[in-house]
């Protein structure tokens, strides 16, 4: 079998086919996303990647020993292989001082290579194809049906369900039960292993449990998406969720939801584009992650650019108003002064906006600040001069060193901070240059 699965697909792919395929994919993704949430938070993504690769020899040996793909023997083999990986990595670190990532790299690539060789050499005895090991056979899952009829009672007819779906559901159930059962302990350990250990929690056992659960989830994902993409299903949903929400239960829940949606979308996209379902699921997950990076409220790329722009605008606005105010002060308190010249495109835009909204009144080449404009300007100048006074008092700086920092920081001082600074000064005290400090005006910017 090769990558040309798409071309093989049947003509009469109906709702049942799509439904079962998506259901299987969703179940697999959900299990991986749930486990992956803990892996990501505990900075164990690399170990997750390692286990995803290294379970292959375990599975291969188990199948050679007579296990069925999806059966309990294979699960055991996978867990054993996963734990061997972790143990070997730690042992290498202890014995030869090999850094954890280098050790993991050595161990899991070797084990994976071993698995591929076993699978290739024993192709006759094993129902695994090396290429399918790499990217799964989700497309064929819907054809491998088992009957649930006998389980549900003899009166019910044969209920045909894909075996892969059964495996995936069983694994999902197992993973959920394990993690929910130890939820509090796992969360505590995830956020602060040192404190957990100090509090007497069996951190090592919990970690082994987590890694074992990873191996189990990996096995289910194996059939659907193959070894390499399991890592995408483990890590990407959780990393995406982390960018959007911040409490662990929410992260896990969101990760699972995203994973399931991505699985369905990925399947649909693969069908539509006639390509590998596993690949498209990974691409969709990547798309979600990219969207989160860009659009996350507050920290997303877009949000940060907006904040940056917002600050630049505010700074330009306040500088412009303060400039007019200072010009007025120098002219002895005149109400109208010559319109200053904008020094940049941004200043020009700001000046235009201020005039348009009436904060600054333009009349025949002269400008005057409206009442709100005066208040805003005075606040800025007040901040500036208060900071200069503070620096002058506490920082033993020469006079000419005071203006540049104040120029910068005047935009960041809020009302409460200004009050604190003023409280340190004498009543009616001037700034270090001898200029009067404008009083606090009623309106807070």
């Amino acid at each position: 079998m090769s990558l040309a699965v798409g071309a093989v697909l049947v003509a009469d792919a109906g709702l049942a086919f799509h439904g079962w395929s998506m259901a299987t994919a969703a179940a697999v993704s959900a299990a991986c996303a749930l486990v992956g949430s803990f892996l990501v938070v505990r900075r164990m993504s690399l170990l997750g990647d390692a286990i995803a690769h290294a379970v292959l020899p375990g599975i291969a040996v188990a199948v050679l020993a007579g296990g069925r793909l999806g059966g309990p023997l294979v699960l055991v083999g996978a867990v054993a292989a996963g734990l061997v990986t972790v143990w070997l990595t730690r042992a290498l670190h202890a014995a030869v001082g090999l850094a954890e990532d280098a050790g993991a790299g050595v161990v899991f690539t070797s084990l994976f290579a071993l698995g591929v060789v076993i699978v290739t050499l024993c192709a006759a005895q094993i129902d695994l194809d090396p290429q399918c090991v790499l990217f799964g056979i989700l497309e064929l899952a819907a054809f491998d049906l088992v009957s649930l009829g006998p389980l549900l009672g003899s009166s019910v007819g044969p209920v045909l369900v894909p075996r892969a779906f059964l495996t995936a559901s069983a694994v999902l159930g197992l993973v959920t039960a394990t993690l929910l059962g130890t939820w509090r302990l796992q969360v505590f350990t995830a956020f602060d292993p040192a404190a957990a250990r100090a509090a007497g929690l069996p951190v090592a056992a919990l970690t082994i449990l987590l890694l074992g659960t990873t191996a189990v989830a990996t096995v289910a994902a194996f059939e659907a998406v193959g070894a390499v993409l399991v890592v995408a299903m483990l890590v990407v949903p959780a990393a995406t969720a982390e960018l959007l929400v911040h409490r662990m239960p929410h992260v896990a829940a969101l990760a699972v939801a995203l994973a399931m949606v991505a699985a369905c979308l990925g399947w649909a996209a693969a069908w539509w584009l006639n390509t590998s379902a596993a690949g498209m699921m990974a691409v969709v997950l990547g798309g979600f992650y990219g969207l989160a990076v860009a659009l996350a409220p507050g920290e997303g790329f877009v949000a940060r650019a907006a904040t940056r722009l917002g600050l630049a605008w505010r700074v330009a606005r306040e500088d412009w108003l303060a400039r007019i105010w200072r010009a007025g002060e120098e002219a002895g308190g005149a109400g109208e002064v010559t319109r200053p010249r904008p020094r940049s495109l941004l200043e020009r835009a700001v000046a235009g906006w201020l005039e348009w909204t009436g904060v600054v009144v333009l009349h025949r080449g002269m400008v005057r600040l409206s009442a709100p404009g005066v208040r805003e300007a005075e606040t800025v100048v007040r901040s500036h001069r208060l900071w200069e006074a503070w620096l002058g008092r506490h920082a033993e700086l020469p006079l000419d060193h005071l203006h540049p920092p104040a120029e910068w920081l005047e935009h960041h001082l809020g009302a409460a901070m200004r009050e604190r600074i003023e409280a340190e000064m004498a009543v009616g005290e001037a700034d270090p240059h001898g200029r009067e400090i404008p009083p606090e005006s009623g309106a807070r910017p």
Partner: protein, 258 residues
């Protein structure tokens, strides 16, 4: 005729930020004469940051730093630097001699290999710090004091006119500390400025000619005895440092303080 010579090292109204968050405010400091100069202050006060900013390792957002009147770019060859010890992987497969030779790379420039002149220089520097016998030893096999002395030798190999040391005595036993201080004093006696970030007030009082007391900003500077008075040390900065921290946060978040 009597134009004042530029100070050896000058911080002019320097504000330093990590990310966008200012951690050092308006440092104004000029050192005109070669001496053993200590930079001291509480933990987290920004002492190491000051050094890193001087070397361009951390961005300076206000003011400037000048060496002999010029910006760093033109005079890098004249400035020697010894970073904190923790940054290094001691299992790295290099010998003591290899590390000291690294001090000569700056002068060699791209692609040229160290030759006989560099090796002899390295040997002399090793002898000066008392590590002459250990040239071929892998660096992981040294004691803490010996490791620090390797870095000292590397700095000496830079043949600089001014040296910046970041906590050279952290985690070093008393005997080695004394030895290291003697080497530093010898460098000063050659007419070079030695600036040392140091954590211990007691030894600072003994060894440094001049100090600067840093706590997010310059509190005091001058001859050691004048600066390390109980008054200066007892002055409560808590309120002022808090204010600076709040302001720093506001700047980092591009907003205003409350």
């Amino acid at each position: 005729m009597t134009a004042a010579a530029a100070p050896i090292l000058e911080f002019h109204d320097v504000t330093v930020a990590y990310g966008r968050r200012p951690v050092l405010w308006n440092i104004d400091l000029a050192i005109a004469e070669p001496c053993l100069f200590g930079v001291i202050g509480p933990n987290g006060a920004g002492k190491s940051t000051l050094l890193k900013a001087a070397l361009g390792l951390v961005p300076v957002v206000g003011g400037y730093v000048r060496y002999f009147g010029a910006p760093l770019a033109g005079v890098r060859g004249r400035v020697g630097y010894v970073p904190q010890r923790e940054t290094v992987d001691w299992d790295f497969p290099v010998s003591v001699m290899d590390v000291v030779l690294m001090g000569t790379y700056g002068r060699l420039g791209w692609l040229r290999r160290p030759g006989r002149r560099e090796r002899e220089l390295a040997r002399r520097c090793l002898d000066r710090v008392g590590l002459g016998d250990l040239a071929e030893r892998q660096i992981g096999r040294l004691s803490g004091g010996q490791q620090q002395r390797v870095f000292l030798a590397r700095a000496l190999a830079q043949e600089a006119d001014l040296y910046l040391f970041d906590e050279p005595l952290a985690g070093v036993d008393v005997r080695s500390q004394e030895h290291i201080f003697q080497v530093l004093a010898a460098i000063r006696d050659e007419g070079k400025l030695v600036v040392v970030v140091h954590h211990d007030l007691r030894t600072a009082a003994e060894w440094f000619d001049r100090v600067a007391l840093i706590d997010m900003r310059l509190v005091a500077t001058g001859p050691t005895a004048d600066v390390l008075t109980p008054d200066n040390l007892r002055r409560t900065y808590a309120g002022r440092v808090e204010l600076l921290e709040e302001l720093g946060r506001a700047v980092a978040e591009r907003g205003r303080t409350p």
